[in-house]
């Protein structure tokens, strides 16, 4: 099948799949971002067990392949009498893994804060949480826009894990498998999805650098 045939026959399904990928990406990134911040706070907290927990968390989810995690969630959890719907399994995997990277980016963003500012905050009587909320996290976020942009793209690519389980509606990778098992889309079926991934990544990258320029901290 050529490009025009594919688009006329499956165009609306590709569009649906694109929206699904966007939705999965947005939900995963939001979740990863939130957990990433919490884990980072734990990693710099004055409470040692929390720090250890945060470090272990990051080591685990930074180093486990997405497919392996998804298989564990789908096929291993039922042995513990926990059966999650497929979309929940996928989203859990695509939240947990990026959350570890999110925390790493925040940690390196924190390293741009001069220790003197932390001393000044302590000197003014700010508590640990006030310091985190007002000084540390805002600066870490503003210094890590570009790596976070990359993380958003990586999260989008990770959502292709959805194609590995019978999840409906299908995502951009899932739709290719569908077309190629029911029809003869060939390579062109992949090319369309790839183009849509690329386009989204380009837009994300562009927005990321605009945001970075706007919020970057003068030093």
């Amino acid at each position: 099948m050529g490009l025009t045939d594919l688009l006329s026959k499956y165009g609306s399904q590709y569009f649906q799949a694109l929206l699904t990928t966007w939705r999965l990406t947005a939900v995963s990134f939001a979740g990863a971002f939130l957990i990433g911040i919490l884990i980072t706070v734990a990693r710099v907290s004055p409470i040692r067990p929390l720090r250890i927990f945060g470090d272990i968390y990051v080591q685990i989810f930074r180093n486990i392949p997405g497919a392996a995690l998804l298989i564990l969630l789908v096929y291993a959890l039922p042995y513990l009498q926990i059966v999650l719907p497929y979309d929940v399994c996928v989203t859990t995997a695509t939240v947990l893994i990026p959350s570890a990277f999110c925390s790493e980016h925040l940690m390196s963003g924190m390293n741009t804060i001069s220790p003197g500012q932390i001393e000044a905050a302590r000197a003014l009587g700010l508590t640990f949480l006030q310091m985190i909320r007002r000084i540390i996290i805002p600066q870490a976020l503003r210094s890590s826009v570009l790596p976070m942009t990359n993380l958003l793209v990586a999260t989008m690519l990770t959502t292709s894990l959805a194609s590995q389980v019978p999840m409906r509606p299908r995502d951009l990778t899932g739709i290719v498998s569908y077309i190629n098992t029911h029809d003869t889309g060939g390579v062109m079926a992949f090319v369309i999805s790839a183009a849509l991934y690329c386009l989204t990544a380009l837009v994300i990258g562009k927005i990321g650098s605009l945001v970075d320029r706007k919020v970057r901290i003068l030093r």
């Binding site: 500012q117 001393e119 000044a120 000197a123 003014l124 700010l126 901290i217 003068l218």
Partner: protein, 250 residues
């Protein structure tokens, strides 16, 4: 025997501190009365800054006691944050918050720590900025200011907390020569207004001008304590004489 008037604003009793093998504070006993301006001088590495920072508990001490108006300052916890807020501190490297405007730098702690209303704090912050001469820089971020302007803003940030005492840790050491005076003038004004202050500095003529008392430190010890007149004209200890001579030699 102590009635409220005689309780020193800051008091250090037998304070000791080591960095590994190095004995950086040796049996420090020091008190600063309300309204007094005490200047600490001494060669680099003599423990002046460490002493200043240990009062705020920015450096832990090994033993001894540090009291604010007779109340011991604890090593950690909520009470520490509370007492810290009552002691203003100005650092060598200004340490303004890089991501906030000058005005926000000043209002942040009074709003968050003292729970004052944003409006009230904002008005006071602008008055303070006016007083230190950087009112027109209020909406800029610190990196857009000169070092002298940043340090004056940092002084305003401390004053906004209405501290009982101000500590200055070499406030002009990171400044270009032409900016030193503008910062010293602000500090001198505070001295005239009766602010209790402990100042670590290398600016001898300034020390002479504002100090009620000069403390000379060397090797982690307080070697000599005197009025500025006597200290600078006729130091008692050989070490202080050597130190002052080395300055004149420059």
């Amino acid at each position: 025997m102590d009635n409220q008037k005689n309780v020193p604003m800051i008091e250090l009793r037998h304070v000791e501190k080591h960095y590994g093998d190095q004995h950086v504070l040796r049996d420090i006993n020091l008190s600063v009365r309300k309204g007094e301006v005490v200047v600490i001088i001494g060669p680099s590495g003599s423990g002046k800054s460490t002493l200043c920072r240990s009062i705020k508990r920015l450096e832990p001490i090994d033993s001894g006691e540090i009291l604010l108006e007779g109340e011991p300052i604890p090593q950690e916890g909520k009470k520490l944050a509370e007492l810290r807020a009552q002691i203003g501190m100005v650092f060598q490297s200004f340490n303004l918050f890089a991501h906030r405007t000058v005005l926000d730098n000043i209002t942040l702690a009074p709003v968050d720590v003292l729970k004052k209303s944003r409006k009230e704090v904002r008005e006071e912050a602008l008055r303070l900025l006016e007083r230190v001469g950087v009112r027109d820089q209020a909406d800029k971020v610190p990196a857009q200011l000169s070092g002298g302007q940043q340090q004056r803003a940092a002084i305003a940030r401390s004053l906004a907390m209405h501290p009982k005492v101000m500590l200055f840790d070499e406030p002009t050491s990171a400044l270009d020569p032409e900016m030193i005076q503008e910062v010293l003038n602000v500090i001198a004004e505070l001295a005239q207004e009766g602010m209790t202050m402990l100042i670590v500095t290398h600016e001898m003529s300034f020390a002479r001008r504002v100090a009620d008392r000069v403390i000379f430190m060397d090797g982690g010890q307080i070697v000599e304590e005197n009025t500025p007149e006597l200290f600078f004209s006729n130091p008692e200890s050989q070490r202080a004489r050597d130190f002052l001579n080395s300055l004149h030699a420059e």
